[in-house]
Protein backbone atom coordinates (compact mmCIF):
# COMPACT_ATOMS: atom_id res chain seq x y z
CA UNK A 1 0.00 0.00 0.00
CA UNK A 2 1.21 3.51 -0.81
CA UNK A 3 2.42 5.54 2.13
CA UNK A 4 0.89 8.95 2.46
CA UNK A 5 2.75 12.02 3.58
CA UNK A 6 1.63 14.92 5.69
CA UNK A 7 1.51 17.00 2.55
CA UNK A 8 -1.88 15.70 1.44
CA UNK A 9 -4.17 18.48 0.39
CA UNK A 10 -7.92 18.50 0.67
CA UNK A 11 -8.18 17.98 -3.06
CA UNK A 12 -6.53 14.61 -2.50
CA UNK A 13 -8.79 13.48 0.23
CA UNK A 14 -12.26 14.09 -1.10
CA UNK A 15 -13.60 10.66 -1.88
CA UNK A 16 -15.08 10.24 -5.28
CA UNK A 17 -18.45 9.13 -4.00
CA UNK A 18 -18.55 12.06 -1.64
CA UNK A 19 -17.50 14.43 -4.37
CA UNK A 20 -20.33 13.20 -6.59
CA UNK A 21 -22.66 13.54 -3.66
CA UNK A 22 -21.78 17.14 -3.17
CA UNK A 23 -22.44 17.83 -6.81
CA UNK A 24 -25.93 16.46 -6.40
CA UNK A 25 -26.37 18.44 -3.21
CA UNK A 26 -25.20 21.63 -4.87
CA UNK A 27 -27.51 21.12 -7.81
CA UNK A 28 -30.40 20.55 -5.45
CA UNK A 29 -29.47 23.59 -3.44
CA UNK A 30 -29.49 25.68 -6.56
CA UNK A 31 -32.98 24.55 -7.46
CA UNK A 32 -34.28 25.24 -3.98
CA UNK A 33 -32.34 28.46 -3.67
CA UNK A 34 -30.68 27.28 -0.49
CA UNK A 35 -27.55 29.33 -0.80
CA UNK A 36 -26.31 28.28 2.63
CA UNK A 37 -25.71 24.80 1.31
CA UNK A 38 -23.59 26.07 -1.52
CA UNK A 39 -20.62 27.12 0.60
CA UNK A 40 -17.52 25.05 0.05
CA UNK A 41 -18.01 21.84 1.95
CA UNK A 42 -14.60 21.47 3.52
CA UNK A 43 -16.03 19.81 6.55
CA UNK A 44 -18.68 17.68 4.98
CA UNK A 45 -21.87 18.58 6.70
CA UNK A 46 -23.00 19.52 10.14
CA UNK A 47 -21.56 16.45 11.83
CA UNK A 48 -17.92 17.22 11.20
CA UNK A 49 -15.63 19.15 13.47
CA UNK A 50 -13.58 21.97 11.98
CA UNK A 51 -10.53 21.00 14.04
CA UNK A 52 -7.44 20.08 12.04
CA UNK A 53 -7.30 16.32 11.44
CA UNK A 54 -4.34 14.27 12.60
CA UNK A 55 -1.91 13.24 9.91
CA UNK A 56 -2.44 10.00 8.03
CA UNK A 57 0.70 8.75 9.80
CA UNK A 58 -0.67 9.52 13.27
CA UNK A 59 -3.89 7.72 12.49
CA UNK A 60 -2.31 4.65 10.92
CA UNK A 61 0.82 4.11 13.07
CA UNK A 62 -0.72 4.28 16.55
CA UNK A 63 -3.54 1.80 16.94
CA UNK A 64 -5.13 -0.49 19.44
CA UNK A 65 -6.15 -3.56 17.47
CA UNK A 66 -5.30 -6.47 19.73
CA UNK A 67 -5.98 -8.97 16.97
CA UNK A 68 -2.54 -7.92 15.69
CA UNK A 69 -0.65 -7.51 18.98
CA UNK A 70 -0.59 -5.46 22.16
CA UNK A 71 1.76 -2.71 21.14
CA UNK A 72 0.37 0.40 19.47
CA UNK A 73 2.74 -0.15 16.56
CA UNK A 74 1.87 -3.84 16.11
CA UNK A 75 -1.25 -3.29 13.98
CA UNK A 76 0.65 -1.21 11.42
CA UNK A 77 3.30 -3.92 11.25
CA UNK A 78 1.13 -7.03 11.15
CA UNK A 79 -2.28 -6.09 9.77
CA UNK A 80 -1.06 -6.40 6.19
CA UNK A 81 -1.63 -10.15 6.52
CA UNK A 82 -5.38 -9.66 6.64
CA UNK A 83 -7.39 -10.44 3.51
CA UNK A 84 -10.25 -7.98 3.22
CA UNK A 85 -11.50 -8.91 -0.23
CA UNK A 86 -13.76 -10.86 -0.52
CA UNK A 87 -15.58 -9.79 2.62
CA UNK A 88 -19.01 -10.72 3.78
CA UNK A 89 -21.10 -9.65 6.71
CA UNK A 90 -23.67 -11.87 8.36
CA UNK A 91 -26.74 -9.96 9.46
CA UNK A 92 -29.05 -11.92 11.70
CA UNK A 93 -31.40 -11.78 14.66
CA UNK A 94 -34.44 -9.55 14.63
CA UNK A 95 -34.19 -8.31 11.06
CA UNK A 96 -36.56 -8.48 8.10
CA UNK A 97 -33.90 -9.48 5.60
CA UNK A 98 -31.30 -11.59 7.38
CA UNK A 99 -28.46 -13.14 5.41
CA UNK A 100 -24.80 -13.19 4.63
CA UNK A 101 -24.13 -10.19 2.44
CA UNK A 102 -21.17 -9.45 0.29
CA UNK A 103 -19.77 -6.09 1.42
CA UNK A 104 -20.41 -4.52 -1.99
CA UNK A 105 -24.05 -5.60 -1.98
CA UNK A 106 -24.46 -4.41 1.57
CA UNK A 107 -23.20 -0.95 0.69
CA UNK A 108 -25.14 -0.62 -2.54
CA UNK A 109 -27.39 2.43 -2.42
CA UNK A 110 -25.87 3.77 0.79
CA UNK A 111 -24.34 7.22 0.75
CA UNK A 112 -20.64 7.45 1.56
CA UNK A 113 -19.90 10.67 3.40
CA UNK A 114 -16.85 12.30 4.87
CA UNK A 115 -17.11 12.79 8.62
CA UNK A 116 -14.34 14.49 10.54
CA UNK A 117 -14.80 13.22 14.08
CA UNK A 118 -13.02 13.56 17.38
CA UNK A 119 -11.81 10.15 18.55
CA UNK A 120 -11.18 9.67 22.27
CA UNK A 121 -9.50 6.49 23.50
CA UNK A 122 -10.30 5.20 26.99
CA UNK A 123 -6.52 5.47 27.59
CA UNK A 124 -6.84 9.28 27.58
CA UNK A 125 -5.39 10.09 24.18
CA UNK A 126 -7.32 11.48 21.26
CA UNK A 127 -7.16 12.26 17.56
CA UNK A 128 -9.17 14.04 14.88
CA UNK A 129 -9.98 11.60 12.11
CA UNK A 130 -11.48 12.23 8.68
CA UNK A 131 -13.52 9.10 8.14
CA UNK A 132 -15.47 8.06 5.09
CA UNK A 133 -18.48 5.92 5.61
CA UNK A 134 -22.23 5.59 5.80
CA UNK A 135 -24.66 5.92 8.65
CA UNK A 136 -25.33 2.69 10.50
CA UNK A 137 -28.98 3.74 10.66
CA UNK A 138 -29.19 3.67 6.87
CA UNK A 139 -27.83 0.13 6.79
CA UNK A 140 -30.22 -1.01 9.51
CA UNK A 141 -33.15 0.52 7.64
CA UNK A 142 -32.01 -1.28 4.51
CA UNK A 143 -32.08 -4.70 6.18
CA UNK A 144 -35.21 -3.87 8.17
CA UNK A 145 -35.20 -3.85 11.95
CA UNK A 146 -38.02 -5.76 13.62
CA UNK A 147 -39.96 -3.80 16.25
CA UNK A 148 -38.86 -6.16 19.02
CA UNK A 149 -35.13 -5.37 18.54
CA UNK A 150 -33.55 -3.21 21.21
CA UNK A 151 -29.81 -3.69 20.73
CA UNK A 152 -27.29 -4.20 17.95
CA UNK A 153 -24.39 -6.61 18.51
CA UNK A 154 -21.21 -6.65 16.40
CA UNK A 155 -18.44 -9.18 15.93
CA UNK A 156 -14.94 -8.85 14.51
CA UNK A 157 -13.53 -11.47 12.17
CA UNK A 158 -11.89 -14.46 13.87
CA UNK A 159 -9.08 -15.66 11.62
CA UNK A 160 -6.01 -16.50 13.69
CA UNK A 161 -3.96 -17.53 10.65
CA UNK A 162 -4.08 -13.88 9.51
CA UNK A 163 -4.63 -12.18 12.84
CA UNK A 164 -1.64 -13.23 14.90
CA UNK A 165 -2.92 -11.78 18.17
CA UNK A 166 -5.80 -14.24 18.06
CA UNK A 167 -3.34 -17.11 18.47
CA UNK A 168 -3.06 -16.06 22.11
CA UNK A 169 -6.01 -15.98 24.47
CA UNK A 170 -5.37 -12.42 25.66
CA UNK A 171 -8.96 -11.53 24.86
CA UNK A 172 -11.99 -13.73 24.50
CA UNK A 173 -12.11 -13.81 20.70
CA UNK A 174 -13.89 -12.83 18.60
CA UNK A 175 -14.00 -9.19 19.72
CA UNK A 176 -17.57 -8.20 20.45
CA UNK A 177 -19.27 -4.87 20.86
CA UNK A 178 -22.80 -3.57 21.03
CA UNK A 179 -25.03 -0.53 21.03
CA UNK A 180 -28.53 0.24 22.14
CA UNK A 181 -30.75 0.53 19.06
CA UNK A 182 -31.34 4.26 19.57
CA UNK A 183 -27.58 4.80 19.77
CA UNK A 184 -27.12 2.76 16.61
CA UNK A 185 -29.78 4.81 14.79
CA UNK A 186 -28.26 8.16 15.81
CA UNK A 187 -27.03 9.94 12.68
CA UNK A 188 -23.57 10.38 14.22
CA UNK A 189 -23.05 6.61 14.31
CA UNK A 190 -20.95 5.74 11.31
CA UNK A 191 -19.88 2.58 9.54
CA UNK A 192 -16.49 3.63 8.24
CA UNK A 193 -15.03 2.24 5.04
CA UNK A 194 -12.34 4.81 4.44
CA UNK A 195 -9.95 7.32 5.86
CA UNK A 196 -8.66 10.50 4.20
CA UNK A 197 -10.62 9.52 1.13
CA UNK A 198 -8.73 6.24 0.73
CA UNK A 199 -9.81 2.70 1.55
CA UNK A 200 -9.55 2.00 5.23
CA UNK A 201 -6.06 0.70 6.07
CA UNK A 202 -6.16 -2.77 7.63
CA UNK A 203 -4.82 -1.54 10.96
CA UNK A 204 -7.75 0.85 11.22
CA UNK A 205 -10.31 -1.93 10.87
CA UNK A 206 -10.67 -2.62 7.16
CA UNK A 207 -12.87 -3.06 5.36
CA UNK A 208 -15.76 -2.08 7.63
CA UNK A 209 -15.70 -0.68 11.14
CA UNK A 210 -17.98 1.11 13.52
CA UNK A 211 -17.32 4.69 14.63
CA UNK A 212 -19.24 6.02 17.60
CA UNK A 213 -17.59 9.38 18.25
CA UNK A 214 -19.14 10.13 21.65
CA UNK A 215 -17.96 6.82 23.14
CA UNK A 216 -14.48 5.59 24.03
CA UNK A 217 -12.64 4.12 21.08
CA UNK A 218 -12.96 0.48 22.13
CA UNK A 219 -16.69 0.65 21.29
CA UNK A 220 -15.79 1.35 17.67
CA UNK A 221 -15.29 -2.28 16.70
CA UNK A 222 -13.13 -3.08 13.69
CA UNK A 223 -13.26 -5.50 10.73
CA UNK A 224 -16.90 -6.40 11.32
CA UNK A 225 -18.25 -9.72 10.02
CA UNK A 226 -21.48 -10.00 11.95
CA UNK A 227 -24.28 -7.67 12.97
CA UNK A 228 -27.04 -9.09 15.12
CA UNK A 229 -30.28 -7.37 16.15
CA UNK A 230 -31.38 -8.53 19.56
CA UNK A 231 -33.64 -7.65 22.48
CA UNK A 232 -30.93 -8.40 25.08
CA UNK A 233 -27.96 -6.22 25.99
CA UNK A 234 -25.16 -8.08 24.20
CA UNK A 235 -21.95 -9.13 25.99
CA UNK A 236 -19.02 -6.90 25.02
CA UNK A 237 -15.35 -7.89 25.10
CA UNK A 238 -13.75 -5.39 27.50
CA UNK A 239 -16.75 -5.43 29.77
CA UNK A 240 -16.49 -9.23 29.97
CA UNK A 241 -12.79 -8.99 30.83
CA UNK A 242 -12.86 -6.13 33.36
CA UNK A 243 -16.43 -5.08 34.12
CA UNK A 244 -15.38 -2.59 36.78
CA UNK A 245 -13.20 -0.72 34.30
CA UNK A 246 -15.13 -0.92 31.05
CA UNK A 247 -18.88 -0.49 30.97
CA UNK A 248 -21.36 -1.33 28.23
CA UNK A 249 -22.08 2.36 27.59
CA UNK A 250 -18.49 3.68 27.67
CA UNK A 251 -19.63 7.23 26.95
CA UNK A 252 -16.81 9.75 27.05
CA UNK A 253 -17.29 11.43 30.42
CA UNK A 254 -14.71 13.66 32.11
CA UNK A 255 -16.54 13.29 35.42
CA UNK A 256 -16.36 9.51 35.62
CA UNK A 257 -12.76 8.34 35.98
CA UNK A 258 -11.41 5.02 34.88
CA UNK A 259 -10.51 3.22 38.13
CA UNK A 260 -6.82 3.47 37.23
CA UNK A 261 -6.60 6.93 35.65
CA UNK A 262 -8.38 10.21 35.27
CA UNK A 263 -10.64 10.85 32.30
CA UNK A 264 -10.82 14.60 32.96
CA UNK A 265 -8.20 15.44 30.35
CA UNK A 266 -6.63 13.94 27.27
CA UNK A 267 -3.54 14.22 25.14
CA UNK A 268 -4.08 14.99 21.48
CA UNK A 269 -1.75 12.67 19.60
CA UNK A 270 0.72 14.39 17.30
CA UNK A 271 1.64 17.29 19.57
CA UNK A 272 5.19 16.12 20.23
CA UNK A 273 7.12 15.71 23.46
CA UNK A 274 5.88 18.87 25.13
CA UNK A 275 2.21 18.68 24.14
CA UNK A 276 -0.17 20.16 26.68
CA UNK A 277 -3.11 18.12 27.86
CA UNK A 278 -6.56 19.41 27.06
CA UNK A 279 -9.81 19.02 28.95
CA UNK A 280 -12.03 16.14 27.85
CA UNK A 281 -15.51 17.18 26.78
CA UNK A 282 -18.73 15.54 27.93
CA UNK A 283 -19.75 12.98 25.31
CA UNK A 284 -16.52 13.96 23.56
CA UNK A 285 -18.13 17.24 22.52
CA UNK A 286 -21.23 15.62 21.01
CA UNK A 287 -23.53 16.31 23.97
CA UNK A 288 -25.96 18.39 21.87
CA UNK A 289 -26.56 15.40 19.63
CA UNK A 290 -26.58 12.53 22.09
CA UNK A 291 -27.15 13.71 25.68
CA UNK A 292 -30.88 13.16 25.20
CA UNK A 293 -30.29 9.43 24.71
CA UNK A 294 -29.28 9.16 28.36
CA UNK A 295 -31.67 11.53 30.11
CA UNK A 296 -32.57 10.21 33.53
CA UNK A 297 -29.70 7.72 33.58
CA UNK A 298 -27.02 7.80 36.28
CA UNK A 299 -23.93 7.95 34.08
CA UNK A 300 -21.64 7.12 37.01
CA UNK A 301 -23.51 3.84 37.33
CA UNK A 302 -24.00 3.14 33.64
CA UNK A 303 -20.44 4.03 32.64
Amino acid sequence: MRRHSRRLTWADVTPEADFLNRRTLLAGAGVLGLSALARPLHAAGAFSTDETPNSFEDITQYNNFYEFGWDKTDPARHAEALTTDPWSVKIDGMVERPGTYDLGDLMAGLTIEERIYRFRCVEAWSMIIPWNGFELGALLNKVGVQPSAKYVAFETLFRPEEMRGQRTSALDWPYREGLRLDEAMNPLTLMATGLYGKSLPNQNGAPLRLVVPWKYGFKSIKSIVRITLTDQEPPTTWNMLQPREYGFYANVNPQVDHPRWSQASERRVGGGLFAKKQPTLMFNGYADDVAGLYSGMDLAKFY
Partner: protein, 214 residues
Protein backbone atom coordinates in the same frame (compact mmCIF):
# COMPACT_ATOMS: atom_id res chain seq x y z
CA UNK B 1 34.14 -1.73 48.63
CA UNK B 2 36.69 -4.43 49.25
CA UNK B 3 34.89 -7.70 49.56
CA UNK B 4 36.83 -10.90 49.25
CA UNK B 5 35.80 -12.91 46.26
CA UNK B 6 34.60 -16.22 47.55
CA UNK B 7 33.54 -18.99 45.23
CA UNK B 8 29.81 -19.66 45.29
CA UNK B 9 28.88 -21.94 48.11
CA UNK B 10 26.30 -23.63 45.90
CA UNK B 11 28.34 -23.45 42.73
CA UNK B 12 28.95 -26.59 40.69
CA UNK B 13 32.35 -27.88 41.74
CA UNK B 14 33.79 -29.39 38.60
CA UNK B 15 37.38 -28.35 37.90
CA UNK B 16 36.43 -26.98 34.49
CA UNK B 17 33.74 -24.75 35.97
CA UNK B 18 36.11 -23.60 38.69
CA UNK B 19 38.59 -22.60 36.00
CA UNK B 20 35.92 -20.75 34.03
CA UNK B 21 34.62 -18.76 37.00
CA UNK B 22 38.15 -18.10 38.12
CA UNK B 23 39.01 -16.59 34.78
CA UNK B 24 35.78 -14.56 34.74
CA UNK B 25 36.27 -13.29 38.25
CA UNK B 26 39.89 -12.38 37.63
CA UNK B 27 38.94 -10.52 34.46
CA UNK B 28 36.09 -8.65 36.16
CA UNK B 29 38.37 -7.59 38.99
CA UNK B 30 40.56 -5.80 36.45
CA UNK B 31 37.64 -3.95 34.84
CA UNK B 32 36.67 -0.50 36.04
CA UNK B 33 33.05 0.13 37.04
CA UNK B 34 32.57 3.45 35.27
CA UNK B 35 31.60 1.84 31.93
CA UNK B 36 28.45 0.54 33.65
CA UNK B 37 27.39 4.14 34.27
CA UNK B 38 28.49 5.32 30.87
CA UNK B 39 26.91 2.62 28.74
CA UNK B 40 24.04 2.09 31.14
CA UNK B 41 23.00 5.71 31.11
CA UNK B 42 23.73 6.45 27.47
CA UNK B 43 20.23 5.33 26.37
CA UNK B 44 18.70 8.05 28.56
CA UNK B 45 19.69 11.08 26.44
CA UNK B 46 19.54 8.94 23.31
CA UNK B 47 15.86 8.09 23.75
CA UNK B 48 15.11 11.66 24.82
CA UNK B 49 16.69 12.91 21.62
CA UNK B 50 14.69 10.40 19.57
CA UNK B 51 11.46 11.39 21.30
CA UNK B 52 12.22 15.04 20.68
CA UNK B 53 12.71 14.37 16.99
CA UNK B 54 9.59 12.33 16.45
CA UNK B 55 11.45 9.05 16.15
CA UNK B 56 9.57 7.33 18.95
CA UNK B 57 6.18 7.24 17.33
CA UNK B 58 3.32 9.67 17.41
CA UNK B 59 2.91 9.68 21.21
CA UNK B 60 6.50 10.37 22.33
CA UNK B 61 5.58 11.24 25.93
CA UNK B 62 4.07 7.82 26.51
CA UNK B 63 6.88 6.09 24.60
CA UNK B 64 9.63 7.82 26.61
CA UNK B 65 7.87 7.24 29.93
CA UNK B 66 7.50 3.54 29.17
CA UNK B 67 11.04 3.18 27.86
CA UNK B 68 12.62 4.73 30.98
CA UNK B 69 10.39 2.64 33.23
CA UNK B 70 11.33 -0.53 31.41
CA UNK B 71 15.06 0.27 31.52
CA UNK B 72 14.75 0.92 35.27
CA UNK B 73 13.14 -2.47 35.74
CA UNK B 74 15.78 -4.18 33.60
CA UNK B 75 18.61 -2.72 35.66
CA UNK B 76 16.82 -3.65 38.87
CA UNK B 77 16.55 -7.23 37.62
CA UNK B 78 20.25 -7.20 36.71
CA UNK B 79 21.10 -5.99 40.21
CA UNK B 80 19.00 -8.74 41.74
CA UNK B 81 20.82 -11.35 39.65
CA UNK B 82 24.24 -10.55 41.14
CA UNK B 83 23.84 -12.53 44.35
CA UNK B 84 22.32 -15.70 42.81
CA UNK B 85 25.03 -15.61 40.13
CA UNK B 86 27.68 -15.71 42.82
CA UNK B 87 26.01 -18.25 45.03
CA UNK B 88 24.76 -20.60 42.34
CA UNK B 89 27.40 -20.25 39.66
CA UNK B 90 30.37 -18.73 41.46
CA UNK B 91 30.47 -15.73 39.11
CA UNK B 92 31.24 -12.66 41.15
CA UNK B 93 30.01 -9.34 39.78
CA UNK B 94 29.46 -7.68 43.13
CA UNK B 95 31.87 -4.87 42.24
CA UNK B 96 29.40 -3.69 39.62
CA UNK B 97 26.29 -3.93 41.75
CA UNK B 98 26.39 -0.37 43.04
CA UNK B 99 26.71 0.99 39.52
CA UNK B 100 23.88 -1.24 38.33
CA UNK B 101 21.63 -0.20 41.21
CA UNK B 102 22.34 3.50 40.82
CA UNK B 103 21.76 3.32 37.09
CA UNK B 104 18.40 1.69 37.80
CA UNK B 105 17.61 4.50 40.23
CA UNK B 106 18.48 7.18 37.67
CA UNK B 107 16.06 5.56 35.22
CA UNK B 108 13.35 5.47 37.87
CA UNK B 109 14.01 9.17 38.42
CA UNK B 110 13.81 9.86 34.67
CA UNK B 111 10.62 7.79 34.40
CA UNK B 112 9.09 9.73 37.27
CA UNK B 113 10.15 13.06 35.79
CA UNK B 114 8.63 12.32 32.39
CA UNK B 115 5.44 11.19 34.11
CA UNK B 116 5.18 14.27 36.34
CA UNK B 117 6.46 17.00 34.02
CA UNK B 118 5.45 15.87 30.53
CA UNK B 119 2.57 13.48 31.13
CA UNK B 120 0.50 14.64 34.10
CA UNK B 121 1.74 18.25 33.99
CA UNK B 122 0.00 19.55 37.11
CA UNK B 123 1.03 19.29 40.75
CA UNK B 124 -2.55 18.84 41.92
CA UNK B 125 -3.14 16.05 39.42
CA UNK B 126 0.13 14.38 40.41
CA UNK B 127 -0.91 14.27 44.05
CA UNK B 128 -4.42 13.10 43.14
CA UNK B 129 -2.98 10.30 41.01
CA UNK B 130 -0.66 9.16 43.79
CA UNK B 131 -3.48 9.01 46.30
CA UNK B 132 -6.22 7.70 44.06
CA UNK B 133 -4.58 5.31 41.62
CA UNK B 134 -3.29 2.14 43.23
CA UNK B 135 -0.73 1.41 40.50
CA UNK B 136 0.73 4.88 40.91
CA UNK B 137 0.67 4.61 44.71
CA UNK B 138 2.56 1.36 44.37
CA UNK B 139 5.06 2.78 41.89
CA UNK B 140 5.63 5.73 44.19
CA UNK B 141 6.13 3.44 47.19
CA UNK B 142 8.75 1.57 45.18
CA UNK B 143 10.50 4.85 44.42
CA UNK B 144 10.47 5.82 48.11
CA UNK B 145 12.07 2.47 48.97
CA UNK B 146 14.84 3.14 46.45
CA UNK B 147 15.53 6.69 47.56
CA UNK B 148 17.48 5.90 50.79
CA UNK B 149 19.35 3.17 48.92
CA UNK B 150 20.52 5.59 46.25
CA UNK B 151 21.51 8.12 48.90
CA UNK B 152 23.59 5.54 50.79
CA UNK B 153 25.22 3.95 47.77
CA UNK B 154 28.62 5.44 48.52
CA UNK B 155 31.60 4.40 50.61
CA UNK B 156 31.11 7.15 53.15
CA UNK B 157 27.55 5.99 53.99
CA UNK B 158 28.69 2.39 54.12
CA UNK B 159 31.34 3.31 56.67
CA UNK B 160 28.97 5.50 58.66
CA UNK B 161 26.24 2.89 58.84
CA UNK B 162 28.51 -0.09 59.26
CA UNK B 163 28.16 -3.14 57.02
CA UNK B 164 25.41 -4.79 59.07
CA UNK B 165 23.06 -1.80 59.20
CA UNK B 166 23.90 -0.89 55.63
CA UNK B 167 23.04 -4.39 54.44
CA UNK B 168 19.84 -4.40 56.43
CA UNK B 169 18.81 -1.05 54.95
CA UNK B 170 19.57 -2.28 51.46
CA UNK B 171 17.14 -5.16 51.85
CA UNK B 172 14.64 -2.47 50.83
CA UNK B 173 15.67 -3.44 47.30
CA UNK B 174 13.41 -6.47 47.53
CA UNK B 175 10.14 -4.61 48.22
CA UNK B 176 11.21 -1.88 45.78
CA UNK B 177 11.65 -4.30 42.89
CA UNK B 178 8.46 -6.18 43.71
CA UNK B 179 6.52 -2.92 43.87
CA UNK B 180 8.05 -1.74 40.62
CA UNK B 181 7.10 -4.83 38.71
CA UNK B 182 3.62 -4.96 40.31
CA UNK B 183 3.23 -1.38 39.06
CA UNK B 184 4.01 -2.64 35.55
CA UNK B 185 1.57 -5.56 35.79
CA UNK B 186 -1.19 -3.26 37.02
CA UNK B 187 -0.87 -0.41 34.59
CA UNK B 188 -1.49 -2.36 31.39
CA UNK B 189 -4.88 -3.30 30.01
CA UNK B 190 -5.76 -6.86 30.90
CA UNK B 191 -3.14 -9.50 31.72
CA UNK B 192 -0.25 -9.09 29.34
CA UNK B 193 2.69 -11.44 29.00
CA UNK B 194 5.61 -9.03 29.26
CA UNK B 195 4.91 -7.53 32.72
CA UNK B 196 4.08 -10.98 34.06
CA UNK B 197 7.41 -12.33 32.78
CA UNK B 198 9.27 -9.56 34.62
CA UNK B 199 7.28 -10.21 37.77
CA UNK B 200 8.00 -13.94 37.49
CA UNK B 201 11.73 -13.37 36.91
CA UNK B 202 11.91 -11.12 39.96
CA UNK B 203 10.04 -13.55 42.19
CA UNK B 204 12.34 -16.30 40.90
CA UNK B 205 15.50 -14.29 41.66
CA UNK B 206 14.21 -13.56 45.15
CA UNK B 207 13.32 -17.22 45.74
CA UNK B 208 16.86 -18.28 44.81
CA UNK B 209 17.99 -16.40 47.90
CA UNK B 210 15.97 -18.80 50.01
CA UNK B 211 17.95 -21.82 48.81
CA UNK B 212 19.93 -22.85 51.92
CA UNK B 213 23.67 -22.38 51.63
CA UNK B 214 25.65 -25.56 51.84
Amino acid sequence: MTQRITPGANAPMTPLWAAVTDALNTASRRLPTWPVYLFGLLPMPWFFWKALNGEMGVNPIEALEHRYGLLALQFLVAGLAVTPLRRMLGVNLIRFRRAIGLTAFFYVLAHLSVWALLDVQSLAAIWKDIVKRPYITIGMAGFLCLLPLALTSNNWSLRRLGPLRWRRLHMLTYPAVLLGSAHFVMLVKGWQTEPILYFGAIVGLLMLRLVPRR
